[in-house]
Structures are given as structure tokens and as C-alpha cells.
């Protein structure tokens, strides 16, 4: 519990930092509070919704990864490596290119459909495969969908900046609309994750023992699958594909609070939010007015950790 509070405090500090610094002048915390209370100005209109969106995106990706790793019993599983995110991204990009005006409110649903389709293909192709081959299947699918996304963007994208958001995962220009999109899905991810946690915990012991313990796998598995795909889809619809959050955050969370999902889910949500917010803030602050997409920073930091997980060899469950 103490760790959770510490993390919450850290998140609050980083939120304040991210509100204070930006492309324009840096503000004191007092000025930040004043602007938020006034409900106007740079902080309220741009920085606050962007920071909130970053936290929610990170939370969704991280919980999606946590649930996916528990469901597949595969410590390397994550929505981005398995291609679920790029499936959602592809559907969103197509929708934005086809009907930019009409798509607004339905964008998460579109992403959800795309993500579910890719998820279904992986489920079908990866049955009975070893943990690592399962991931390779996802990587190949992800490479394929990513090639289509790049093709579409290079050919039709209205602007390079727009294209970059989808290819590298960025929170550039995200506002209150996006926070409203994300909020219900993020709540669904947290609440849903904690509700099913007790049922999902025995999965780690294998399907036989879980069944013996009275878990109905035929009900539980689709629920977890839905939870994971939905939260990843919500995040990708807003921020594009931000990789490695869903992969490494659950590992860090398990280190902090052990394998019990009732704790891992909220911990990884919090850590994921913290991670993406830090990445986004760093990307804005390093070289203003230029921005480094949060997805790039996450990959830059996440890839070595993934390598460490591989080398350490604890990944062969």
C-alpha cells in the first residue's frame, strides 16, 4: 500500500512538472493551479488534457499487457508485439482517411474492431505454439499491418505530422475530446481488471488446476481477451501505437507487488500512466519547439529492458 501511495505521489509530481514545462514559458506550480481554476489558458486548454490523455493511454496499454500476459501465460505477450495495436491502428487510419468528419465519436469502436480482428487471427494461428513462437506470429502480423499503415500514410496522409502520430505514437495535439474518449475505457480496464483478478489468478497454475479450482475457462478467457483488446484499442485510437509499455510495465509491476493480479492491475495501470507521461513530457522538453513522439522514447527505453528480460532467461515459462 505504501508503494502505491509513493507511486501516486510520483504521478502527481510528474503531472505538475508536465504542466509547468512546455514549448512556451515555464510556469510556477502556483501559476499552474491558477490557470486550471480559471479554466482557461495554455495549461487548461492544452497541457492538462494532454497530460491526462498520456496517463490514460499508458494505463490502458499497461493493463492490456498485464491481462494479456496472464491470459496467454506468456511473459513476452503485449498488445504491440502481438500486433493487436497495429490492427487497431490500421482500422483507425483507414477510418480517418475515408471519413475524417464522421468518424470522431466512433473512433475507439473502429479501433476495437480492427484490433479484435488481428487478435482473432493470432489466436487462431498461435494455438499450441511455444511462448516465443506465439510472439513471432504476432510480430509477423504486426509487421504486415504496419507495412499497410505506412503504405496508406505515405500515399494518402494529409500531413507528415499526422502520419508521424500513427507511425511512432504521439500525444501531439491531444485535447479534452480525447480524454473524454479514453476515460470510460480506462475505468472499464481498471474496474474490469480488478473484478476478474481473483478468477484469473489461478490461470498461472495451468488450465487443469484452474479448472479444478472451479474456474470456468470458457467464460473467463473471452472476458480477459475482451478486456485486453478493448483497452489497447481505446489507447491506440487516441495516441497511435506506443510500444513496449504493455510489455515491460507489467514486469516492473510484478516486481513491486508480486504476481497477485488484484494488485498487479492497479500497479501496472499507475506505472504505465507514469511511464507514458514521463516519455511525453521528456519528448516535449528536450528540444522545444520540436517534439519527439512518446512512442519513440518508450521504444528507446523499453527495447533494452526487453533485451534484458530475454537475456536473463526468466522468460521461458
Amino acid at each position: 500500500m505504501a508503494k502505491f501511495v509513493v507511486l501516486l505521489v510520483m504521478l502527481a509530481v510528474v503531472i505538475v512538472l508536465s504542466l509547468s514545462f512546455g514549448a512556451t514559458d515555464s510556469l510556477t506550480p502556483g501559476a499552474v493551479v491558477n490557470e486550471i481554476v480559471a479554466g482557461n489558458g495554455v495549461v487548461y486548454l492544452f497541457r492538462l488534457p494532454r497530460a491526462l490523455a498520456a496517463v490514460l493511454v499508458g494505463l490502458c496499454f499497461a493493463i492490456s499487457g498485464t491481462v494479456l500476459q496472464s491470459l496467454t501465460r506468456n511473459p513476452l505477450a503485449s498488445p504491440d508485439l502481438l500486433g493487436v495495436t497495429s490492427g487497431g491502428g490500421l482500422a483507425t487510419v483507414i477510418a480517418i482517411l475515408v471519413a475524417p468528419a464522421a468518424i470522431g465519436p466512433y473512433i475507439t469502436w473502429v479501433a476495437f474492431v480492427g484490433a479484435s480482428m488481428v487478435a482473432a487471427v493470432i489466436w487462431f494461428l498461435g494455438r499450441g505454439a511455444s511462448a516465443q513462437r506465439f510472439i513471432l506470429t504476432g510480430v509477423a502480423l504486426s509487421a504486415f499491418t504496419h507495412a499497410i499503415i505506412t503504405l496508406l500514410l505515405v500515399t494518402y496522409a494529409p500531413s507528415a505530422a499526422e502520419a508521424m502520430i500513427w507511425l511512432k505514437g504521439s500525444l501531439f495535439g491531444r485535447g479534452w475530446v480525447h480524454v473524454k474518449h479514453l476515460l470510460p475505457w480506462a475505468c472499464f480496464a481498471v474496474v474490469g481488471g480488478i473484478v476478474v483478478a481473483h478468477q484469473a489468478n489461478p490461470l498461472v497454475l495451468g488450465p487443469t488446476i484452474a479448472t479444478t479450482l472451479g474456474i470456468r475457462l470458457s467464460v473467463l478467457r473471452p472476458c480477459l481477451w475482451l478486456l485486453s483488446v478493448a483497452s489497447a484499442a481505446a489507447a491506440v485510437a487516441v495516441a497511435g501505437t506506443i510500444g513496449f509499455v504493455g510489455l515491460i510495465v507489467p514486469h516492473v509491476a510484478r516486481r513491486l507487488c508480486g504476481p497477485d493480479l488484484r494488485f498487479t492491475v492497479p500497479f501496472s495501470g499507475l506505472l504505465g500512466g507514469l511511464f507514458v507521461l514521463l516519455a511525453d513530457t521528456a519528448g516535449r522538453v528536450i528540444a522545444p519547439p520540436l517534439e519527439i513522439p512518446a512512442g519513440l522514447i518508450c521504444a528507446f527505453l523499453g527495447a533494452p529492458y526487453f533485451g534484458y528480460l530475454l537475456v536473463k532467461g526468466k522468460t521461458d515459462l
Binding site: 513462437r133 502480423l141 504496419h146 505515405v154 517534439e291 527495447a303 526487453f306
Partner: protein, 312 residues
Amino acid sequence: MRPVAGFWPSVFSTVLLIALGGYLSLSLGPTSADPAYTLYQIRLPRFVTAVLVGAALGLAGSLLQLATRNPLSEPELLGVNQSAVFAVVLLLLVLGERAHPLAMLSVALLGGAVTGTAILLMSASGAFPRERLILAGLTMAFFFGSASSGLLLLNETDLFELLHWTAGKLSGANWLDAGLVGGCLVVAVIVSVARATQWNALLLGDDTARGLGIDPVNRRVEIVSLAVLLCAVSVAVAGPIGFVGIIVPHLANAMAGLDYRRRTPLLLLMGGALVALSDLLARTVLHPAEIPVGILTALVGAPYFLYRAQKL
């Protein structure tokens, strides 16, 4: 594995395919005021570069698979291409303007060598069976990929140009590019002719190779160095073009068997045909827009990789 098509029929049909691609590449395209210039300075060098880059990548893929004893190895998936790209991006940022192709090649070699060494160490340690090696390679690919995109973004390079280059492109290839790839290929071909029988012995496993008087460790270092050279030159000229190194070797194996004396020419030809035809498609399908050729090879190659990974 029994060859399905025989050596000479495969060679003959691939040469025909390249010739057909060459004819179409040279004849298709917008009309210009100076046909001779268009033909000899734009279309022909581009076609020749495409064939040579494809040949280099096809051979490089097969060499990496031989050195790592892993049928899924491929320059793009193991991160060799991305680390070479990262080095080139660093050079371009330091020099500001377009650097001399030879300088680009040298730094691409350095960058590729980093990943090459890592691959050698990992496959020598024995702790990295098939899937694990690819995942470790992917990690390097992600790391260097994000690093070079970040560097480019920080320096306000024209985004669309960059998007094209990092997806692999051949537009604007000139005779110097073709010469550079050609030179490296000559080196690679000479070495592979000289070493073909030793490489064949390596296919039988390290112990057998040792029994035949061949040092597998030295050979492996040599093979990976050669692969890195080929990847580096194709990156310096055309950016990273993925998945050629996985499609071509498997096709060549199926058609000509595993003997490197026969496999090498077929690898070169089939790689050349694949990239030349992909590039032809890339610049004609959506004309006047041009698709980066790396995207086309990924669209074909990713499903093929999926299929291979299933059959493993």
C-alpha cells in the same frame, strides 16, 4: 531437401524474369524531353541498382541463416539494417549535407558490425535457440530504429523524405550507387566461390565441420562479416529493405538444394529479380506517387515469414 525445379531451369527462368523486369522498367514511366538521358541516367541505373541490392540482400539473408543455424534469420529482423541506418543518420547529422556514398558505406559498415558482433556472440553462446535469437534481434531493431527516428526528428529533416528513406527506396539511384553495390557484390561472390565447399560442410554441423578440418568459429565470423558488408552497402544506397533475406533463401533452397556452389548464383539472381520487380511495381502502381520498395517487400515477406515460423 530435394530440389523441386533443378538448377538450370531455375537460373534460366529467373534470368528471363529479370530481363522482363528490365524491359518494363526501362520502357515504363513518364515521357521526357530527353529520352536518352532518362534512359541512361535515370531508369537504367535505378534498375541496375535494384537488381544488385536485391542480389546483395538475398545472399546476406542466406549467409545469416547459415551462420546462426536459424532459418528465420534476416537482416531486418536481426537489426543489422537498423543499426546501419542509425550510423548513417548520425553521419548525416554531423556532416549536415548529403555525405559521400563511400563515407555512408563505411559508417553503415561500422553500425552493422555492432549488431553482427552481437549476433555472433549470441549464436555462439548457445543460449539463444531459434525464436529467442530473432526476438533478441528484434530488440536491437526496435532500439536502433527508434534512436534514428528520434535523431532525425530532433533535427527537423524533411519528414516525408525521411519516411520514404527509412522505409527503403530506390528513387534517385545513380551509377555511383550501382557501382558501390556492384563492387561489394564482386567481393562477396569471390569469397563465396572460394568458400562454397567449406560452407557446405558447416551445414552438417560444427562437429562434422571440425572433423573435416574446418574451423567453424572462424568461418562463422567470416560469413557474418560478409553479410554485414552486403547489408551495409544496400542500406547506404537504398535504405533498409526488409524480408528479401527471408523470402529469397527459402525459395532458392527449394529450387536448387543446399549446395552453396549452386545456391549462391540462384540467391543472387532471385534476390535481384524480387527487388527489381518490387521496385517496378512500387513506382508504377500508384503513379505518380511512389511507394517505398521496402513496404512492398514487407507486404509479401511478412506473410511468408509467418508461414515459415508456423512450419518451423
